[in-house]
C-alpha cells in the first residue's frame, strides 16, 4: 500500500508538471504570437474574420470566456497585476465605471474611432472604445394583442394600467443583465423620486419576476416560436423579433413578436473593449482594437451576437435590415451614477418587489 500511495503521488505531480510545461514554452520567432482576449460567455464572431486577422498579423487569437459580464469583470479586477488576457471585450455601460475606477486599461485611440458617433464614446480618455450596442426593450406577442384588440403599451407608465394586468414578465435585476437594464430604464424615466412608486404600481398590476432571460422568454412569454408561457409582454431585446425570423430556419417570414421602441422605454447597452495593463504584445492588442472597429468585424457582429455595430457605415445583414429596430431616444444614465447606486437601487427594488 505504501508503494501504491507513493506511485499516486508521483502520478499527481507528473500531471501537474506536464500541464504547466505547455504554456511556458516560449514561441520561436517564426511561430505566430498569441493574443489573449477575455470576453463574456455570449461573445461570438465568424471564424473567417478571426482567421483573416490572424494571418494578417501572424498571430493566434486565444479567446477566454469569463462567465457573465459581472463575473468576467471581477476576475480581471482581482488579477489585474497578472491579467489573464491582453485585451478585454464586453464590458457594458452598466459596469463601465467599475472597470475604469479599477484602473484596468491602457489608453489607446484607434484610427477607426473617428468614424464612430460621439454618443457611444463614453470614455473621453479612450481607455476603452465602444464596439457594439443593443437595446433592452419590451417585446410583445403580436397574436395576443391582435386577438384581444389591445393597444401595445407605448410608455412605461402604460404598464401599470388595468388592461395590462398580469401580462408582463421581467427578469430579476440582481441576477440578470436585461433585468438590471429595465430597472435602470425606470430610474432614468421616473427619477429617484418616482421609480419606487412606479414599481409599487407594477407590483399591484401583477408583474411576474423570474430569475433570468431564458426563463422569462422561453417559459413565461407567449410570443416566441418556442415560447410556451401565457404572458404576452416580456423584457427582451430590440433584435429578438429579427432573431425569431432568422432562427425559424425559413418557416417564418415575419416575426411573431414585436419590440416596443417608444422614447424612454428602452435601455441602451453599449459594449466596450480595451487593452489591459500588464498584458503582453501591446502592438497586437492595438491592432486587434483597431480591427474590432473596422468594417469586417463590425459587419460580422449582428448575426453573431444579435446587437448592432457602432460603425454607421457597416452594412447590416438582410434580416436586420428588414426586421431589426433601434430604440428611439433610449433611456440614459451616467455610468458613474450606475456604479455608485447599483447596490442601493437593487436593494430598494428588492425591498419593494420581494420583501
Amino acid at each position: 500500500m505504501k508503494r501504491l500511495s507513493l506511485l499516486i503521488n508521483f502520478l499527481l505531480i507528473g500531471v501537474l508538471l506536464a500541464a504547466c510545461a505547455q504554456p511556458t514554452a516560449s514561441p520561436t520567432p517564426t511561430e505566430p504570437r498569441v493574443l489573449r482576449v477575455i470576453t463574456h460567455s455570449s461573445f461570438s464572431l465568424s471564424e473567417d474574420v478571426i482567421r483573416a486577422f490572424e494571418q494578417e498579423h501572424h498571430a493566434t487569437v486565444q479567446f477566454i470566456k469569463g462567465g457573465d459580464t459581472g463575473t468576467l469583470l471581477n476576475q480581471v479586477i482581482l488579477s489585474k497585476d497578472n491579467p489573464p488576457a491582453d485585451v478585454l471585450y464586453g464590458i457594458d455601460n452598466t459596469f463601465l465605471s467599475r472597470a475604469l475606477a479599477a484602473d484596468l486599461f491602457v489608453p489607446y485611440t484607434p484610427k477607426a474611432l473617428q468614424a464612430i458617433p460621439q454618443e457611444f464614446q463614453l470614455d473621453p480618455q479612450h481607455r476603452v472604445v465602444p464596439v457594439d450596442f443593443g437595446d433592452v426593450c419590451l417585446n410583445y406577442d403580436k397574436a395576443y394583442f391582435a386577438e384581444h384588440k389591445l393597444e401595445v403599451p407605448q410608455s412605461l407608465a402604460d404598464l401599470t394600467r388595468p388592461e395590462y394586468q398580469g401580462l408582463l414578465v421581467i427578469e430579476d435585476p440582481s441576477t440578470s443583465s436585461p433585468g438590471l437594464a429595465f430597472l435602470l430604464t425606470t430610474i432614468a424615466t421616473f427619477g429617484e423620486e418616482g421609480y419606487q412608486g412606479f414599481w409599487q404600481a407594477l407590483k399591484a398590476n401583477d408583474v411576474l419576476i423570474v430569475n433570468d432571460w431564458d426563463t422569462a422568454y422561453y417559459t413565461e412569454f407567449s410570443g416566441g416560436a418556442y415560447s410556451e408561457g401565457a404572458r404576452p409582454l416580456v423584457v427582451s431585446y430590440a433584435t429578438s423579433p429579427a432573431a425569431e425570423v432568422y432562427f425559424s430556419e425559413g418557416k417564418l417570414t415575419t416575426p411573431p413578436t414585436g419590440a416596443v421602441i417608444a422614447p424612454g422605454t428602452c435601455f441602451r447597452q453599449i459594449e466596450f473593449a480595451g487593452i489591459l495593463k500588464n498584458g503582453q504584445n501591446r502592438d497586437l492588442a492595438e491592432a486587434f482594437i483597431e480591427a474590432l472597429l473596422g468594417q469586417r468585424f463590425q459587419e460580422d457582429i449582428p448575426l453573431q451576437m444579435w446587437v448592432y455595430p457602432v460603425l454607421p457605415e457597416a452594412s447590416l445583414p438582410p434580416v436586420f435590415a428588414e426586421h431589426g429596430v433601434i430604440a428611439q431616444a433610449p433611456a440614459r444614465l451616467d455610468p458613474q451614477a450606475i456604479e455608485q447606486n447599483r447596490e442601493r437601487w437593487i436593494e430598494t427594488w428588492r425591498s419593494i418587489m420581494v420583501p
Binding site: N74, D212, G224, E244, Q304
Partner: protein, 540 residues
C-alpha cells in the same frame, strides 16, 4: 508486533495523496480568495442575514427529509425485490444527477405549470388547476428529483448486502415486520442512511440554480447572496463572511456525522447482492408497484418532456447540431462536445477513485479519522463563486500557470466528486469484519493482497456507485467549466447554455437535443458500468 507497526504506518501514508490534493486544489485557492477578500474593503452586512440562514438551512432540511422519505422505499425495492423493468428504472433514477439546472428548470416548469399533464387531467375532471411554479414546493420537488438517486443507490447498495437472516431471526422470535425493520434493519442501515442524508443536505444547502430559477426572486440561499454580493456589488468582504458561515455549517454538520459514523458502524457479513432479491409477495406487490409507478412518473415525466421537445420538427434539431450556418468561431460540434465531456468525466472519475480509495481505506475504523473525513467533505459545502474566483487567483504564475488548462477543471471536478466516492465507499468498508483481515493476514497475505481479495470484492458495488456519482457530476457540471476552461474545450452543458442564450425555435430545439444527448451518454455509461465485475477472489 513489527508487522503491526509497519501496517499502521502504511495506513497513515494513505492519507497523504488525498491530503496533498486538498491542499493544492482546495485550501490554497480558498485561502487566496479569503485573503484578497479580507483586504478588499469595509465589511457591509447583507440585510436579513438571519432570515437568509434560516431559509437556507430550513429548505435543505425539508429537502433532505423528503428525499429520505421518498428514497427509502426505493432503496428497499431495488435491494430486496425482483420486478419487471428493474434494471431500466434503476438507470433512470440516476439520470437527473447529470442534468444542468437550466434544463431541469425548463422541464419542471412545464410539468408544474398551468399546461402540465396533471392540470390537463384536472381540467377534464372540471377541477381547479394547480400552479406550483415559483414556490417552495417547486424547489423541494427539484431537490428530491436530483437527490433521490443518492438515497436509492447508497442505501440500496448497502441494504442489498445485509444478511436477511438477521431479520428472519427477529421474525421467528415473534417480531412484527415493522418491529423487525425498526429494531434490526434500520440500525444497520444508519451509516449508509447518514451518508446519503449528509450529501443531500449539503447539496441542497448550497443550492443555487434550482432556488433562483424554480423558486424565483422571493427565495434566496446563502449561495445566491454570495453571488449577488460578489458579482453585482463587489462586496468581497461580505461575500467572504457569508461563504465562511456556509462553510461553518457544513463543517459542523459533517463533524457530527463523522463522529457518529464510528459509533453507528457494526461489522457485518456483507454479501454479494445477487441472489438475495425475490419477487414481491401478494400483500407487498400493490405497495411496491404503486411506489414504482410514482417513481417512474416523478423522474420520467420531466425527462420525457425534454426528449419530446428535442424531437419536435421530426428530429431536425439533431441534424442542425451538425451545422454551423453562421460560421461561428465558437460553434460546438456535437461529437467534440461528447468527446470532451466523456474524457473529462472519465478523468474525474479516475482521479476521484485514485484519491478516494486510499482515503476511505485510511479512514475505516480509524480513531482520529473523523476530522480528516470532515475535511474531505468541505469542498462540497464551499461557495462555488468564492472557490471559482480563488481558482483564478491561484496557479496563475509561471511555472504553474494553469489558467484555462483542462487540468484546473479536472481538479475542480474531482474536488466535488471525491466526497461522493468516500461517502459511498466508507459504510461498505466499515462493515467488513476485521476478523476477515486478521484471518487473511495470519494466512500470510500482504496488505495489498488482503485488499484485493477481501475488501475489493466485498465493497465492489459501493465503489461502482461512488464512481458513477463522480462521473455524472463531472458530465453535467456547468459553472466551473464555463469559468475555468477556454472556449476551445467545450462540453455538452456549455453547448446547451450557448443555445439557450438566444431567442428562436432552432436555438431552443437544439438546446433540448443537446440535453437529450447528455442523457443518452449518461445512460450509455450506466449500462457499460453494469458489465464491470470485481476481480475474481482467489482462495488464499
Amino acid at each position: 508486533m513489527r508487522g503491526q507497526a509497519h501496517r499502521s504506518l502504511g495506513r497513515e501514508l494513505l492519507f497523504l495523496p488525498p491530503l496533498l490534493f486538498l491542499l493544492l486544489a482546495y485550501f490554497y485557492p480558498l485561502l487566496r480568495m479569503l485573503q484578497v477578500s479580507a483586504q478588499w474593503g469595509a465589511l457591509t452586512w447583507p440585510a436579513h442575514l438571519g432570515r437568509l440562514i434560516g431559509f437556507t438551512a430550513g429548505q435543505a432540511l425539508l429537502s433532505t427529509l423528503l428525499t429520505l422519505l421518498l428514497g427509502l422505499p426505493g432503496a428497499a425495492a431495488f435491494a430486496r425485490y425482483e420486478f419487471p423493468g428493474r434494471r431500466w428504472l434503476g438507470l433512470l433514477t440516476g439520470v437527473p444527477f447529470v442534468l444542468p439546472t437550466v434544463v431541469v428548470a425548463a422541464a419542471f416548469n412545464a410539468v408544474l405549470g398551468p399546461r402540465s399533464p396533471l392540470n390537463a387531467l384536472l381540467l377534464t375532471l372540471g377541477l381547479p388547476t394547480l400552479d406550483l411554479r415559483y414556490s417552495l414546493a417547486a424547489i423541494l420537488m427539484a431537490h428530491v428529483f436530483y437527490n433521490l438517486t443518492l438515497v436509492i443507490r447508497i442505501v440500496g447498495t448497502f441494504w442489498a448486502g445485509l444478511d436477511e437472516r438477521l431479520v428472519e431471526a427477529a421474525r421467528t422470535l415473534g417480531a412484527s415486520p415493522l418491529r423487525a425493520w425498526v429494531t434490526v434493519t434500520l440500525p444497520l442501515l444508519l451509516p449508509a442512511l447518514g451518508a446519503a442524508a449528509l450529501l443531500t443536505f449539503i447539496f441542497c444547502f448550497t443550492s443555487f440554480g434550482v432556488v433562483l430559477i424554480l423558486g424565483g426572486p422571493r427565495f434566496a440561499t446563502l449561495e445566491v447572496e454570495i453571488y449577488r454580493q460578489t458579482v453585482q456589488y463587489l462586496n468581497l468582504a461580505a461575500a467572504a463572511v457569508l461563504a465562511l458561515i456556509q462553510l461553518g455549517f457544513t463543517l459542523a454538520l459533517t463533524l457530527i456525522y463523522t463522529r457518529l459514523q464510528g459509533r453507528l458502524t457494526r461489522p457485518l457479513d456483507l454479501r454479494q447482492a445477487e441472489g438475495l432479491r425475490r419477487h414481491p409477495r401478494r400483500g407487498e406487490a400493490l405497495a411496491l408497484y404503486a411506489y414504482l409507478t410514482l417513481l417512474l412518473a416523478g423522474i420520467g415525466l420531466p425527462l420525457l418532456t425534454l426528449v419530446l421537445r428535442s424531437l419536435a420538427e421530426g428530429g431536425q434539431y439533431y441534424l442542425a447540431l451538425f451545422e454551423n450556418p453562421r460560421r461561428s468561431l465558437f460553434y460546438v460540434p456535437p461529437v467534440t462536445a461528447v468527446r470532451n465531456s466523456l474524457s473529462l468525466g472519465l478523468a474525474t472519475t479516475a482521479l476521484a477513485l485514485l484519491l478516494g480509495l486510499p482515503a476511505a481505506l485510511a479512514l475505516r475504523q480509524h480513531q482520529r479519522g473523523w476530522l480528516f473525513d470532515a475535511l474531505l467533505m468541505l469542498p462540497l459545502g464551499t461557495s462555488a463563486v468564492t472557490l471559482g474566483l480563488g481558482y483564478l487567483l491561484s496557479w496563475n504564475r509561471p511555472p504553474l500557470d494553469l489558467r484555462g488548462s483542462p487540468v484546473l477543471l479536472g481538479m475542480a471536478h474531482t474536488l466535488v466528486a471525491l466526497p461522493f466516492v468516500v461517502r459511498a465507499l466508507l459504510p461498505a468498508l466499515n462493515a467488513i469484519r476485521p476478523a476477515l483481515h486478521e484471518a487473511a493476514a495470519t494466512l500470510g497475505a500482504p496488505p495489498g493482497r488482503v485488499f484485493w481479495d477481501v475488501d475489493l470484492p466485498l465493497s465492489w458495488r459501493a465503489l461502482l456507485v461512488g464512481a458513477l456519482f463522480a462521473f455524472t457530476i463531472s458530465l453535467g457540471e456547468f459553472s466551473a467549466t464555463a469559468l475555468l476552461t477556454r472556449p476551445d474545450w467545450p462540453t455538452i452543458p456549455i453547448a446547451i447554455y450557448r443555445f439557450l442564450g438566444l431567442p428562436g425555435a432552432a436555438n431552443y430545439g437544439q438546446a433540448m437535443a443537446m440535453a437529450t444527448l447528455l442523457i443518452a451518454v449518461c445512460v450509455l455509461v450506466f449500462i457499460v458500468s453494469e458489465g464491470l465485475r470485481p476481480p475474481e477472489s482467489t482462495p488464499l
